[in-house]
């Protein structure tokens, strides 16, 4: 395999081609600084502006010559080629991610190694069938209406742009699978903190079957978000129908300026996740250790870089002196569980956020309000509030730093979740059943058993929406009786 993703050795600059409907474009002319100091070279997106989108939608017809099973097989074949130790494109992506990503090489390695699993036929079939229903993708599904008419419904793919997040490489793979599985035409805009994973996936696809319809409907490139000269020409209803955007408040707000009738925006906006631990955790030492172990995984998986990681844990220890003491004990155990997580799951970060470090050291001098376990180096920390409020810098918690907040009643914990809350990990199961009907009213989007926050599946709704269904265009054929 001839890799074109070459690191120019002397300059530490990575080359990122544009992949345009099966065509490899390498006339590099623009240099960008990635996050954490990585630099990369790309061709000018502006130069290809009028070739990027699919202006003739009838060209999507070739996707309908393929059955969903054929698409699943194609993706499976692709998955088989995504073996890190064999695929040079993926190796280059991994190498660059080691510099550009917030994740450490060990955790990244695990993530890249598990990519082929995402492409397994049973996973893709489950996703399409559970979330959409394969019959709707394959055919016109008839329904008899009350008034006697028959309505047939079919789900068509759309022309999409994916503005993907780079905090975890899995996002690139999942976006590709979703897009191909729904017969969408997909343009991926690369994130600066993971500028090569999506490129590697599509370049592997190009090498596998350059003329395949799926390959012809996948493009990937980088441009600096905010390049209005380029974007104003590009984000038009005659070019695209759906924008699927991950990202922070400002970037989503920015994208929304291009919305107009004919363009639909599907957002995965920034979320934070929490945990609620009921008083049963303290019933005996063994339970407390188990709870700590499970809590540690929810904090430490992906090095707490993902939206599903717990950052604040509300614990029903009580707020009396005894209660706080119980929570401090739990804090100590949790800290130990956190730093002892195996390195393929979680490691200390490459760079510990300086601002967070200053926040932690600032409160360390006062034992009355917070107790801090760990955090002297970059290994992670457990901050135990000594009263029922989280730390003021809770929005900055990352790199395996979690805040335990004592509460007397679960109500206090409920008050603290809002529409920015994605996942809530709960212990015990009985408590979950008790509050799962209330949490969504406050804005919670996913409830899981404590310890399973990172166990996300492509076959579920995400962020309280059905993105796969929304990526489709739902067309009706209405047959009148007369």
């Amino acid at each position: 395999m001839q890799s074109t993703l070459v690191k120019t050795m002397d300059t530490e600059v990575f080359e990122i081609p544009i992949l345009l409907r099966g065509k490899l474009i390498k006339d590099y002319s623009e240099t960008f600084g990635g996050r954490n100091g990585a630099k990369f070279l790309t061709p000018s997106a502006k130069k290809y502006a009028n070739q990027i989108s699919l202006s003739d939608p009838s060209k999507m017809k070739d996707l309908y010559d393929l059955s969903i099973e054929e698409i699943i097989t194609f993706l499976h074949d692709l998955g088989q080629r995504l073996i890190l130790k064999e695929n040079e494109y993926l190796q280059a992506a991994y190498e660059l991610a080691c510099q550009a990503s917030g994740l450490t090489p060990e955790v990244l390695h695990t993530t890249y190694q598990t990519l082929p699993m995402l492409f397994h036929p049973s996973n893709i079939r489950e996703m399409l069938d559970k979330r959409i229903g394969i019959e709707y993708l394959e055919s016109w599904v008839p329904t008899k209406m009350e008034d006697g008419r028959t309505i047939a419904i079919r789900a068509f793919g759309s022309r999409t742009v994916h503005i993907i997040a780079g905090n975890v490489p899995t996002v690139s793979a999942a976006s590709l699978i979703r897009s191909c599985g729904t017969r969408c035409d997909a343009i991926f805009k690369l994130p600066s903190n993971d500028p090569l994973t999506a490129t590697a996936l599509i370049q592997t696809m190009m090498e596998m079957e350059p003329q395949h319809p799926i390959t012809k409907h996948c493009s990937v490139l980088y441009w600096r978000g905010g390049d209005t000269h380029f974007e104003e020409k590009f984000y038009r209803p005659e070019n695209i129908e759906k924008i699927i955007a991950w990202g922070g408040f400002n970037s989503i707000k920015y994208i929304s300026r291009y919305l107009q009738p004919g363009i639909d925006l599907i957002t995965f906006d920034p979320k934070i996740s929490t945990s609620i631990i009921g008083r049963d955790a303290f019933q005996d030492d063994q339970t407390l250790y188990t709870v700590a172990q499970r809590a540690a995984i929810d904090v430490g998986a992906f090095n707490q870089e993902a939206c599903l990681n717990s950052r604040i844990m509300y614990v029903q220890s009580g707020t009396t002196e005894d209660g706080i003491e119980r929570l401090n004990t739990f804090g100590k155990i949790l800290y130990s569980a956190l730093v002892n997580l195996p390195s393929h799951v979680s490691t200390p970060p490459k760079i510990f956020n300086e601002t967070l470090k200053d926040d932690i050291e600032g409160i360390r001098l006062d034992d009355d309000f917070y107790h801090i376990y760990g955090g002297k180096s970059n290994e992670g920390a457990v901050i135990v509030s000594q009263f029922d409020e989280p730390v003021d810098f809770s929005h900055r918690l990352c790199s395996r730093v979690v805040n335990l907040v004592p509460v007397d009643t679960i109500d206090t914990a409920l008050q603290s979740v809002n529409s920015y809350t994605q996942t809530v990990g709960i212990f015990p199961e009985s408590l979950k059943l008790q509050i799962r009907d209330i949490l969504p009213l406050y804005g919670v989007q996913r409830v899981v058993s404590l310890g399973f926050a990172a166990n996300a599946s492509m076959a579920t709704p995400q962020d309280a929406i059905e993105p796969l269904r929304r990526m489709c265009k739902w067309i009706t054929d209405e047959k009148s009786v007369l």
Partner: protein, 475 residues
């Protein structure tokens, strides 16, 4: 003792060894001609005395020193692990303010000052302003608060006891920048901001402004009245909530805002106040030599506003325009420097580097370098937190020990990255001692931190807060 070849007599030198605070009684010429070895010995002797005095009196220092196993100061670098991070003075939980648990806030502050606050009555306070007032009524403290760029204010427990030191250090600074000795020469002072308040600029100028001017009548501020700590805090929290898109929080903050009438009055009267300020300048001080003091952003705001009224070259060209604080995040016209000089009629703007926690400032010279007075013991740390050697040119995080503090510990670790030139690389302006390059950057901004609203943008935050509360701007 290494004898200094400087202009100091033996008696003066020994006084400096006995009492580091006497450093501010020396002249600028003397202070900037001292030899490195001599300065470092004075600093070490001073640091030893200050540590011994503060250690039993400040609980937070005792805790930190005990944790770091520091029992005495044998070398300057023994201070390094016990500098207080800039976050320490805002390490209280914001919930104490939101839930009006001001007695707890007092307990927190008590650990950071030599003053005994244990008998303070603050449980009836219902705002930050009333809490500050209650503490100041019952003690000698004169708390200074920060601009609270994220809405959380730092509270620095200064007191009357160090005001004389501050005045002397401030006068030294003014003299370096302007060539005018404020002890001898009095000039009218203009300060384009609020007259009163507990933010540093208001604290310092409401006290020393009239002294610099020679009388209250010759000291001129733009906006009469008090810059409220509560409003500053709300303004910052509003900006932070807006930046993060926390709409629920915006509603909560809006509900918190009391004194709506006062805000309306202020908004209505602001243009009138500014017009009167300029009118006074032009009618009574046109072409005269004056002091113009304030943060850089307040100077620019005032100049742009004055321009609109068709004013320029307001003062005599030998007037002294002294500022600090930098532009930070504020959006200003590209040619702001030229415009500010044209408006006020001066050739250049002089500034200094310093912070809420420092006694006085570090003045810039004609080479555009910040010179560090001997009462500051500077430290530069590498990314791992190790002190870099006191030789050559070093870039890293800036810390300092301030020998002039009385009621709070003088050691600070800032959030700024600086480049320092130690004494073996003397500045061509002729001053001895270490100096900092002009480019100073916040470490949090360098690493893409989210704390982007800077202190220089606070006036803007304040204005937009008022607009928000009054519903005059579309949200």
């Amino acid at each position: 003792m290494v004898l200094s070849t400087s202009k100091l007599s033996g008696e003066r030198q020994s006084e400096m060894f006995q009492n580091p605070q006497s450093l501010v009684h020396a002249t600028n010429d003397e202070l900037f001609s001292l030899e490195t070895d001599f300065v470092q010995q004075i600093q070490l002797a001073g640091a030893q005395k200050r540590f011994d005095w503060f250690y039993p009196r400040i609980k937070a220092l005792k805790k930190l020193a005990d944790e770091q196993n520091i029992t005495e100061i044998k070398t300057l670098n023994d201070l390094a692990p016990i500098l207080f991070l800039h976050t320490v003075y805002k390490s209280y939980p914001l919930a104490f303010i939101e839930k009006k648990k001001f007695d707890k806030l007092t307990v927190w502050l008590d650990k950071l000052t030599t003053h005994d606050l244990s008998a303070m009555k603050t449980d009836n306070c219902n705002s930050i302003d009333s809490w500050l007032e209650a503490i100041e009524k019952q003690s000698d403290l004169q708390i200074v608060h920060s601009t609270g760029t994220t809405g959380k204010l730092s509270f620095l427990p200064r007191s009357e006891s160090e005001m004389e030191n501050f005045k002397n250090a401030f006068y030294l600074f003014i003299e370096v920048l302007t060539g005018v000795n404020p002890h001898k020469t009095k000039m009218p002072v203009f300060f384009p901001s609020f007259a009163d308040g507990r933010q540093l600029a208001q604290r310092i100028l409401s006290r020393f402004g009239p002294m610099l001017a020679g009388s209250k009548e010759e000291y001129h501020t733009a906006i009469p009245g008090y810059l409220s700590a509560d409003f500053m805090s709300l303004a910052g929290r509003l900006q932070a909530a807006k930046a993060k898109g926390e709409l629920g929080k915006l509603q909560m903050l809006k509900a918190l805002s009391y004194n709506r009438g006062e805000l309306i009055r202020l908004k209505r009267n602001r243009p009138k106040y500014m017009a009167a300020f300029f009118d006074n300048m032009v009618k009574n001080y046109r072409g005269r030599q004056v002091f113009m003091l304030g943060t850089l952003t307040s100077m620019i705001d005032a100049a742009l506003e004055g321009e609109k009224q068709g004013l320029s070259n307001v003062f005599a060209s030998n007037s002294a325009l002294v500022t600090g604080g930098g532009l930070k995040g504020q959006v200003v016209p590209e040619d702001w420097y030229e415009r500010i000089c044209t408006f006020y009629g001066v050739k250049n703007i002089r500034d200094g580097y310093g912070m809420t926690e420092s006694t006085g400032y570090m003045p810039s010279c004609d080479q555009n370098h910040y010179h560090i007075y001997p009462h500051f013991i500077p430290f530069v740390f590498d990314i791992g937190g190790q002190v870099l050697p006191r030789t050559g040119v070093q870039t890293g995080r800036f810390g300092f020990y301030d020998l002039l503090t009385e009621s709070y510990w003088g050691g600070f670790l800032t959030g700024d990255e600086v480049t320092i030139h130690w004494d073996d690389d003397q500045c061509s302006c002729g001053r001895t001692g270490p100096w900092l390059e002009k480019k100073i950057q916040r470490i949090s901004e360098k690493n893409n931190g989210d704390d982007k609203i800077s202190c220089a943008g606070s006036q803007e935050a304040y204005d937009s807060f008022i607009d928000y509360l009054l519903d005059t701007k579309e949200e």
